[in-house]
């Protein structure tokens, strides 16, 4: 009987792996091999680091988005928050003359506060996250424009630029930050009480409440962390661009959401992983880089991007179907 037990749990593990992110991994591999064959510029150390650097901002946002989507939420305001935090950081440094560290800390606080506001609206006020963040999307974007009067704030400070443009050895600093956040994000989700509660809220909120999980607090913490992470992205982007621009981060939320879903996290809640999300981030990053390398025309790029996302999820589903009993 012990054998049966082990067998099931092994099968289970495989199934979990393939179900959630295995096929995203498959999609990534296919894309990778395809690109290697199509462009001799793709598989070079410098290009891969280049892709990683470009993907890092999306990666950081996507970690928070993973948490949010596991709780059945969504965050459409991430891109606008990238703009707001980027302009705030730039403004604090250039207009207020604050030291870099202070400016960064204050900016992170802004991000976290915006996130906790979202969390409050979602939990205590019970407003659908789609609506809260849809409203916040235009509010935060508007705030960034009002704050800057529509003029990007150029940051001349060299130290600040290092965050987004510097290297540690051969590795770009944003890549290091993103990997670090990915690892922490993974551990928090899988190995902490907080992570467990995130899954429980998304899996069965009623049951979680009855188990004594503090739903509201969990949701507020989730959005607060996501806001904090988005602020990090905002700072990195502002540093990369040496500019706090109210136009920055346009559409960033959609890239993050796409990465999360490609990585096997489900809108139905209760399922998902940071590692899967990073695979999704890699797919989207390579796709953007690849289409540029292959000189695909602008209009065709739109179509190809959409088709690849659709295909990636389709491949996923065909695998899932084979395992399913019916339907």
């Amino acid at each position: 009987m012990n054998q049966l037990e082990n067998k099931i749990s092994f099968k289970d593990r495989i199934k979990n792996f393939f179900g959630e992110k295995g096929s995203a991994a498959l999609g990534l591999i296919i894309l990778f091999v395809f690109m290697t064959f199509m462009s001799d510029r793709f598989l070079t150390f410098s290009n891969l680091l280049n892709v990683a650097r470009q993907a890092s901002i999306n990666g950081i946002i996507a970690v928070g988005m993973t948490y949010i989507i596991i709780t059945k939420g969504i965050d459409l305001s991430a891109g606008a928050l990238v703009a707001l935090t980027g302009t705030v950081a730039a403004g604090l440094i250039m207009n207020m003359g604050l030291p870099i560290m202070i400016a960064i800390i204050l900016t992170l606080i802004v991000g976290a506060l915006v996130g906790s506001f979202t969390g409050l609206m979602v939990s205590k006020q019970n407003i659908p996250p789609f609506i809260v963040t849809l409203a916040l999307m235009t509010i935060l974007r508007g705030l960034s424009f009002v704050y800057t009067s529509g003029r990007p704030i150029y940051v001349s400070n060299e130290l600040f630029r290092v965050i987004g443009r510097g290297y540690l050895g051969p590795i770009p600093i944003p890549v290091i930050i993103a990997i670090f956040i990915g690892i922490i994000g993974h551990i928090v989700l899988k190995k902490t009480k907080f992570g467990r509660h995130i899954y429980s809220v998304g899996g069965n909120e009623e049951a979680a409440r009855l188990c004594g999980v503090n739903i509201d607090r969990t949701i507020i913490y989730v959005y607060t962390s996501a806001g904090f992470l988005t602020a990090i992205s905002g700072i990195i982007l502002a540093s990369r661009l040496s500019t706090g621009s109210p136009n920055a981060g346009d559409g960033a939320e959609l890239d993050a959401i796409a990465a999360v879903i490609l990585g096997g996290t489900s809108f139905a809640g209760g399922i998902g992983s940071v590692s899967g999300t990073f695979i999704g981030v890699a797919i989207i990053g390579i796709l953007g880089n690849g289409l540029n390398l292959l000189n695909v025309s602008s209009y065709n790029q739109m179509m190809v991007k959409g088709l690849v996302i659709l295909l990636a999820v389709l491949v996923n589903n065909i695998k899932l179907k084979k395992q399913n009993i019916s339907r």
Binding site: E5, V188, T192, K193, R196, H197, N204, N214, I325
Partner: protein, 502 residues
């Protein structure tokens, strides 16, 4: 003097249009097993949800060891040592068994937020050993059967080391074997001084374990009795119903006709194989077996919900292809599922809409496309009346009804369709005695009209009383049929456990 651990004074709980609890006073003595009984909708589940803080009371006071508890919420209740197994499953399908059991109660490295997975896993194994449950702690809960899930709930409640443990119909979806294990556990807990509130519609269980019994009716407390003050089951039934109830199994003899359904060599990989049986017109075919014996799967396959690899289904002499429930319904089949919440009710819809959903084509139309309101209401109303569904109105959202009344509404759904064959999977699960006998009576009427019934049941008395024949399954195979005098509890068990009946 007995130690009172919990006392309720004048407790009321109102829902819009419903006084679910009306001025209840109740006391709980440390270490006792206190049974709570009453018809469907009497307020049992509401009472325990107030006690665990899941619902906020409307009026009244709650005292814990003599001190009033003002704000009772799930966290507070937990800190008082109150834990519960709810009537509805409260599990997380995509998490593992171990994660489920420790949800909200995780073991962590001192004061950190990091969980000790290994330790929790070992703990679960220990608990499972104690309750003789053979499930891997690493398996995802969604891969377990309802009964197994119920056992997980029980394990979770035990793992909490509660002072007061409330069990709302814990046995409604588990087999006799598991029930026995549960009772052993309850005895153990009692010895450790745990106080238990026990809710069940199976009155014989009450005599087996309870010290005292409180009867609720229509949200009011009728009486609390010591177990030795109770003469017999009928006395309890009368208290619950408020009138005399006789003849719990009122099945009349019906002339059995020709074969209507023939299932041949039906097999589905890793599920079941070589299923062969026949169903005759006007017959009630009981299906017995242990939980996990794949009875549900076989019937769901026949109803078009699942794929199969081999075999044939022959209806009225014709081989039929049923690839989805729509086909099945068109061919005159109906199925009442065992999972009321998951695959039965549609909680966003009203009682009326739930009843008429599969039978909308039978309702009159205006301008040949628009559903005629009047005609729909008349149909639904008649069924609500006939089945005695307790609801404030046809427009009430169905999830506001008590479990038993939801079940009756679901049965109404299929009666409207007047199928030739009705498959009933655990049809009286969680249903009170009064409603049970109504459902049995109804089954009798249906077969008298020439309808054939397949009834899966884990309650052997019910199988024995209602079935013309009993088919017993074991591990995905049919282990035998029992007819006439061979229909005994002992024989069902023999077949279920792999024995032979001669």
């Amino acid at each position: 003097m007995d130690n009172e651990i919990l006392r309720l004074e004048g407790l009321s709980k109102y829902f819009p249009g419903v006084k679910a609890l009306d001025d209840i006073s109740f006391d709980l003595i440390e270490g006792e097993i206190h049974a709570l009984i009453g018809e469907n909708g009497a307020g049992k589940s509401t009472l325990i949800k107030v006690l665990t803080g899941a619902y906020q009371k409307t009026h009244g006071k709650v005292f814990y060891r003599g001190n009033e508890v003002k704000k009772l919420n799930p966290t507070k209740a937990k800190s008082l040592g109150i834990s519960a197994i709810y009537q509805e499953l409260t599990l997380f399908p995509d998490l593992t068994v171990a994660q489920n059991i420790f949800m909200g109660n995780e073991k962590v490295y001192n004061k950190s937020n990091i969980v000790k997975d290994k330790e929790m896993m070992n703990e679960v194994r220990k608990i499972f050993e104690k309750i003789k449950l053979d499930i891997s702690p690493e398996i995802l809960v969604k891969n377990l059967s309802i009964a197994q899930q119920q056992m997980i709930e029980i394990a979770r409640a035990i793992s909490l080391d509660a002072d007061i443990l409330i069990m709302d119909e814990p046995t409604s979806s588990i087999s006799n074997k598991e029930t026995e294990i549960l009772f052993e556990i309850i005895e153990d807990l009692k010895k450790q001084g745990v106080t238990i509130i026990y809710i069940s519609h199976r009155l014989e269980e009450i005599f087996e374990i309870a010290n005292r019994v409180t009867v609720l009716r229509n949200g009011k407390k009728i009486k609390t009795l010591k177990i030795d003050e109770i003469k017999n089951k009928d006395q309890l039934v009368n208290l619950m119903v408020g009138k005399e109830v006789t003849d719990l199994f009122p099945k009349k003899e019906v002339k059995i006709g020709d074969t209507i359904l023939k299932v041949q060599n039906l097999s589905a990989q890793n599920k079941f194989e070589d299923i062969n049986f026949e169903l005759k017109k006007g017959e009630i075919l009981g299906v017995g077996g242990l939980v996990g014996s794949q009875r549900t799967e076989v019937m769901e396959t026949i109803f078009g919900l699942r794929n199969f690899d081999n075999g044939e289904i022959i209806l009225n002499g014709h081989k039929v292809k049923i690839s989805n429930p729509q086909n099945a319904i068109d061919l005159g089949l109906g199925l009442i599922s065992e999972d009321r919440k998951g695959t039965g009710i549609i909680k966003t819809m009203s009682v009326k809409e739930n009843i008429t959903l599969p039978g909308l084509d039978l309702i009159d139309r205006k301008y040949s496309v628009l559903i005629d309101n009047k005609s729909e209401e008349i149909a639904a109303d008649a069924l609500v009346d006939r089945l005695n569904v307790k609801t404030p109105s046809l427009r009430q959202k169905i999830d506001k009804l008590s479990g038993g009344n939801q079940q009756k509404a679901i049965i109404a759904r299929w009666i409207l369709l007047a199928p030739e064959i009705l498959i009933m999977d655990e049809p009286t699960r969680g249903i009170d005695v009064g409603a049970k006998s109504e459902i049995y009576e109804l089954m009798g009427e249906l077969v008298a009209k020439g309808i054939s019934i397949i009834m899966i049941s884990s309650e052997n008395p019910e199988l024995l009383a209602m079935s013309d024949r009993i088919m017993v399954m074991r591990e995905g195979k049919i282990s035998g049929f029992l007819e006439g005098k061979k229909q005994t509890e002992e024989n069902i068990l023999k077949l279920a456990f792999g024995g032979v009946v001669n």
